[in-house]
Subunit: 206 residues, 2 copies
DNA sequence: CATCGAGCTGAACAATCGTTTAGCATCCTG
DNA sequence: CAGGATGCTAAACGATTGTTCAGCTCGATG
């Protein structure tokens, strides 16, 4: 009754909405435009999803489900993140917008990813693969933020890389640069870190 | 004729638009809502800016100008970035949306920031403050992306940090965690980096 | 005083929006 | 065959949108 007819109609509308929502933003896209792209009438969209907001929530749930229970990713390591970043362009764009707009589903997803990353980093510290941190929770949050940054800045990131190369080539370059920072660090000494701590001390008792 | 009357009217409309555009997104905000917040009529908004799109471009130009030529930041080091991140909440939200929507002004700003960061990192490498990179251009782009990430994920970042503390306290924690990664690195050995290079070799000749 | 322009407004316009309603076709079930 | 879901559509409704227009006030200029 549900999964049989998913190949046509409902799913086609959802995919069309996902694509347009991601590319243009939810409120720049009309129900009629979604219907046209899906090859159906505008009324059918509302018939299936109740309202435009219902369609948005359905897209939210679908994207989150794909990231969470996606092909082989169980969110207990960070491989789910890589899967997300390799997801379809439509999903990437939609996710970026969902995080910026602060939809509840996106917020819950973010929190879960941070928790998983914190566990993963913690275990890495135990096994010696990951350096210990003065503030593991904050580090996990920042780490996730950085991994997710291409969702928002992917377009600019690709443009910043000069010359040829396919989109995957550029992605490989940027991810390699990120891993390089993660393993070698960026600053050669503790000067910036010490300066920061000095600033904090200064602010603590003015 | 221009800067004298900026304190009222035109500037008030621009500030109201900036705030609402950042908080809700450009197309979720009506001209009438902006006018109401600025305490003027809807017609005056169009009288000053020609159209809603003109108002959006004016907001773009204003934010970019504030970031570029802001108080003491000449964009020749990355201090301008810090100033940007400490800018008003409205500007932060607006900038995040501008980057996501890929407005031309935001794209140009991003490119300029990457170029400045590349120069800054390059000089750091010469003076020994910054570690050398296998791909300086890509590293600069990724670096800027990471510095800009709080624009989009700031809300989630703050929520991920448990318990008390003011907003500035949370910002201090996350920025400190970021600097920690930048100076100490995240991974304790070259395993991830080597694994990545192995993947690249594999993809090069399949 | 006359006049001109700038700041500003209320009312209206056309377009588009999300949504509702009534109804058509089709297919399964009894 | 009767009948009720189900997938789907065309047409219309009310609300809201961006924009236009005629005209008001008021201080500066001649």
């Amino acid at each position: 009754m549900r999964s049989d007819s998913d190949l046509t109609g409902r799913a086609r509308i959802r995919d069309a909405a996902l694509e347009l929502f991601g590319a243009e933003g939810v409120n720049r896209v009309s129900v009629r435009a979604i219907a046209a792209r899906a090859g159906v009438s505008a009324a059918l969209v509302l018939h299936h999803f109740g309202s435009k907001e219902g369609l948005r929530k359905a897209c939210d749930a679908y994207v989150v489900e794909m990231v969470r229970g996606g092909p082989g990713a169980d969110l207990d390591d960070v491989s789910g993140l890589a899967a997300m970043l390799e997801a379809s362009s439509a999903m990437r764009l939609y996710l970026g917008r969902a995080f910026l707009d602060g939809s509840p589903a996106a917020a819950a997803l973010f929190d879960d990813i941070v928790a998983a990353a914190e566990r993963w980093l913690e275990e890495g510290v135990r096994t010696g693969r990951v350096r210990p941190s003065d503030d593991p929770r904050a580090r996990a949050a920042v780490y996730v933020t950085w991994l997710l940054a291409p969702l928002t800045f992917g377009e600019h990131l690709a443009r910043a890389l000069p010359g040829g190369g396919s989109e995957t080539d550029r992605t490989l370059r940027t991810s390699r640069a990120g891993i390089e920072i993660f393993t070698r660090g960026l600053f050669a000494d503790d000067r910036v870190l010490d300066a920061w701590d000095a600033v904090r001390e200064e602010r603590r008792s003015p």
